[in-house]
């Protein structure tokens, strides 16, 4: 089954749309007319916000593909709790895309806003543009971020990438902002370019900063260096964060700058 959603022009395009109902499961289980989204504080039919074209049939979520056309940068929570199937986003997407996702694939051709793949446990997200803050992290106050699955960002990521990460993999082909991997417990983060203040208070897990790691905290201890054949460069190895009671984290950095 293929569902093509094209966002209609809106009078007030800045009003956020809460669209946790855009998942393969809802299209499989519900009639399109019965699916609703919230536009600001009003509940509206999905068809009032999007032009919906549905074709083909599906027996399981795996066979469902959703395509989002147009500028969806105000559309939030697309693919929340997604278990299987595919969502292709042709342009930009709003916050909290792929929240709690446990399977399937989300492909974003534009940029994604903050909280991409928040607390996801499985599946894959590929973002061909930039992503905002808190990609792959836990929500405010939460002690665990992403626990499984894979997030790939082709350009840059914002601040707090993979905060409280407890499993899975995050790859950023560009740079990240401040404090990637803060409170990290498990899993792997790879940043191909630069990062600032990497991994504060990390307890475990591995973080690669293949470009320059700016302002490595004084609570990290350099234990040596290694030639990494995968990435073809010399990397300094750090252990930390010694500010934490448990400090089994490993940080590998290309160039370093300790403040």
């Amino acid at each position: 089954m293929k569902i093509e959603l094209s966002i209609k022009p809106r009078e007030k395009p800045f009003i956020p749309i809460e669209a946790e109902s855009i998942t393969p499961a809802s299209f499989l289980e519900k009639m399109t007319e019965d699916i609703t989204v919230w536009s600001g504080n009003r509940e509206k039919k999905l068809t009032e916000i999007f032009d919906v074209k549905k074709s083909g049939n599906a027996d399981s979520q795996k066979d469902v593909e959703i395509i989002l056309n147009g500028d969806c940068s105000a559309v939030k929570r697309v693919g929340e709790y997604m278990k299987d199937g595919k969502i292709s986003i042709m342009g930009n997407i709003g916050m909290h895309c792929g929240n709690f996702m446990s399977g399937g694939l989300i492909e974003i051709n534009g940029d994604s806003d903050s909280w991409l793949g928040r607390e996801m446990t499985g599946g894959e997200i590929i973002c061909k543009g930039n992503t905002g803050d808190y990609c792959g992290s836990g929500y405010r106050g939460e002690k665990t971020g992403i626990k499984g699955g894979k997030i790939t960002i082709m350009k840059d990521a914002g601040d707090y990438l993979g905060e409280s990460m407890a499993g899975g993999e995050i790859i950023v082909n560009g740079s990240s902002g401040n404090m990637p991997g803060s409170e990290m417990q498990k899993g792997t983060i790879t940043i191909y370019k630069d990062a600032v203040l990497p991994c504060p208070n990390m307890r475990g897990g591995i973080c690669y900063v293949l470009g320059e790691a700016k302002e490595i905290l004084p609570t990290f201890k350099q234990t040596g260096s290694i030639y990494n054949s995968d990435h073809k460069r010399e990397l300094n190895i750090y252990e930390g964060d010694y500010a934490n009671r448990s400090h089994k984290g490993k940080l590998f950095a290309g160039k370093t700058n300790k403040k």
Partner: protein
């Protein structure tokens, strides 16, 4: 004039010695009346259990501390979310929920009166602001005096009247209800990175002991003729072996008041620990209950712990620091100038944890071993032991030994060697539960005279009707029905108006704040005392003129209890 008639109610009203009778309750213009006219609105209780509105004599729902719990645990707001409804605001949160969530949930349990357990005088305005929005309960605030410099100096000078004068001035200034003492002296010592070991250790700079602070405050409390007694959170909370300290505190308590207890000891579960360290930690609830049974001048609340997630918050800063070192999670620490301090950390009480399992047992043991239910109230020190929404489960545990046995089988296997719970077969009845959840609490707080906690003529029309039919239910076997029944009233009525029906809160409950104003002669008025005035000038961050909470600041319907004093 509004009139309401509750027909065919199975009433238990311990203060008026009604132990289960089918009767009608008439309410005229907010108050219980002898009769009402034919035009009164009628509610058919259908023989269901009908009690006076619940009274919680120790809970933390309003004030800076609670609010800081909200700040530091945004994840708590992910639980308990509810949408706005015609007469209700949207809510969220579990252990430190929004103000409206607290008030709606209390009303669904049938509670119409609550006492905030700890208000720092300097931060009273915040508490009163939240009281204002606790729209379905009448509220009162315990006011903290554990580390008050003026009190400690007066104790050091052995000047009882001055202690009373400071307490009286402060209570009236901040619109407080009662004297609360949290780890007396310990909060001041914590300002220097220390704590007090037990009640005879001297407090730096002041040269006095916690025992002296307690003794003087008890006598000052009686001199001021306050409705409630001193409300004490003992020293050494949560430390193995602290039961000795608790016992000695009880032992020293005089009997000075024939209407109520002379000392209210709160969350005694946390103070009934044997052993010397966590390795040999055990219950000493038997010793504490034995002492309580011999001391009618003391009343306690259980401070029951229930398994699950919650937030601990107390003025006892050093204790929270110890907890922080145990859990290594987030922690907040706060100092309140010349008065007190506080600490907050989130916790998780686990069935698989031996210490937590023993704590769970101790609270129940205290209630079951206390012979007179009027001396032991049902409370969790919300949210410290558990959020108050767990009260129905505690009621069921007290009413059913079968339920206790089933729960006991699920906790840490070594618990049996350290507690007495499996040997206790007492099963409480509805009367005892009614005592522990409203009558005893109202009596202990001294608010029965103003018409709270009972259904006598002239009392406030506060009534809770639970979907429980006394004859159809065997609480020992049908404990799940007890939990269900006490979790959601059919009707909660406050001041003669239905405020909650099956959990749908119907309207604003005309909430009042009850506070005390001791009548003190000019000679003892601290506003005229040069040394007291100087304290504000030199040390406080606010001036004396700006310190009191103005009456206009509170809601208009408040109740002021003026007392005749010996000053």
């Amino acid at each position: 004039m509004s009139e309401l008639l509750i027909k065919n109610a199975y009433v238990i009203d311990p203060i008026n010695d009604i132990k289960g009778e089918i009767m009608d309750i008439a309410i005229k213009d907010r108050m219980i009346a002898d009769s009402v006219s034919d035009s009164a609105e009628v509610i058919d209780a259908k023989g269901c259990l009908t009690l006076p509105g619940g009274v919680d004599s120790h809970t933390h729902i309003c004030g800076t501390k609670v609010n800081f719990g909200r700040y530091m645990s945004p994840e708590d707001m992910r639980a308990g979310r509810g949408r706005a409804q015609p007469h209700m605001y949207p809510v969220s949160g579990y252990s430190v929920p929004t103000v409206y969530a607290n008030t709606y949930r209390y009303s669904a349990l049938g509670y119409t009166t609550v006492l905030e357990g700890a208000m720092a005088p300097l931060e009273a305005r915040h508490t009163h602001e939240e009281f204002f929005c606790t729209s379905l309960q009448d509220t009162m605030a315990n006011t903290l005096f554990d580390g008050n410099w003026s009190v400690m100096e007066a104790v050091s000078d052995k000047d009882l009247k001055r202690v009373a004068a400071v307490v009286g001035w402060t209570l009236a200034a901040v619109k407080g209800f009662a004297v609360k003492v949290t780890n007396p002296g310990g909060t001041e010592m914590w300002g220097w990175g220390k704590d007090v070991g037990c009640i005879h250790q001297k407090i730096d700079h002041f040269g006095i002991t916690p025992a002296e602070i307690i003794e003087y405050l008890i006598r000052a409390n009686e001199l001021l003729n306050l409705p409630h007694s001193v409300h004490l959170h003992c020293n050494n909370l949560g430390k193995p072996g602290n039961y000795k300290c608790t016992l000695e505190t009880m032992q020293r308590t005089p009997n000075l008041n024939d209407k109520r207890q002379t000392l209210y000891m709160t969350h005694v579960q946390f103070h009934s620990y044997g052993g010397t360290k966590w390795g040999d930690f055990c219950s000493k609830a038997d010793d504490i209950a034995w002492m309580l049974n011999r001391k009618p001048q003391i009343a306690i609340d259980m401070g029951q712990v229930m398994f699950g997630k919650t937030t601990t918050m107390t003025a006892d800063g050093p204790m929270e620091f110890n907890l922080y070192r145990l859990y290594n999670n987030k922690w907040s620490n706060h100092d309140v100038e010349l008065e007190t301090g506080s600490g907050i950390i989130p916790v998780f009480y686990s069935r698989k944890n031996l210490v937590n399992s023993v704590m769970w047992s101790i609270g129940l043991e205290l209630a079951l071993m206390t012979k007179n239910p009027w001396q032991c109230m049902l409370a969790t020190d919300n949210p410290n032991g558990a959020p108050f929404v767990k009260y129905p489960e505690i009621i069921a545990l007290l009413m059913s030994s079968r339920y206790r046995d089933e729960e006991f089988a699920k906790i840490h296997p070594d618990t049996g060697k350290r507690v007495h719970l499996p040997s206790l077969d007492r099963e409480m009845d509805f009367y005892e539960i009614a005592v522990m959840t409203r009558a005893a609490q109202a009596k202990a707080l001294g608010i029965t005279d103003i018409g709270k906690g009972h259904l006598g003529e002239g009392a406030y029309g506060d009534v809770a009707i639970y979907p429980i039919k006394n004859n159809d239910i065997d609480p020992s076997r049908d404990y799940s029905k007890i939990i269900e029944g006490f979790s959601l009233t059919d009707y909660t009525i406050k001041s003669g108006r239905v405020i909650s029906r099956h959990g749908n809160c119907l309207l604003n409950g005309n909430n009042r704040t009850i506070w005390v104003k001791p009548k003190i002669s000019e000679e003892y008025n601290m506003s005229n005392d040069p040394e007291f005035v100087k304290k504000f000038e030199r040390y406080y961050s606010v001036s004396m003129e700006n310190y009191p909470v103005e009456e206009e600041y509170m809601n208009k319907r408040n109740i002021c209890i003026e007392t005749e004093t010996g000053l």
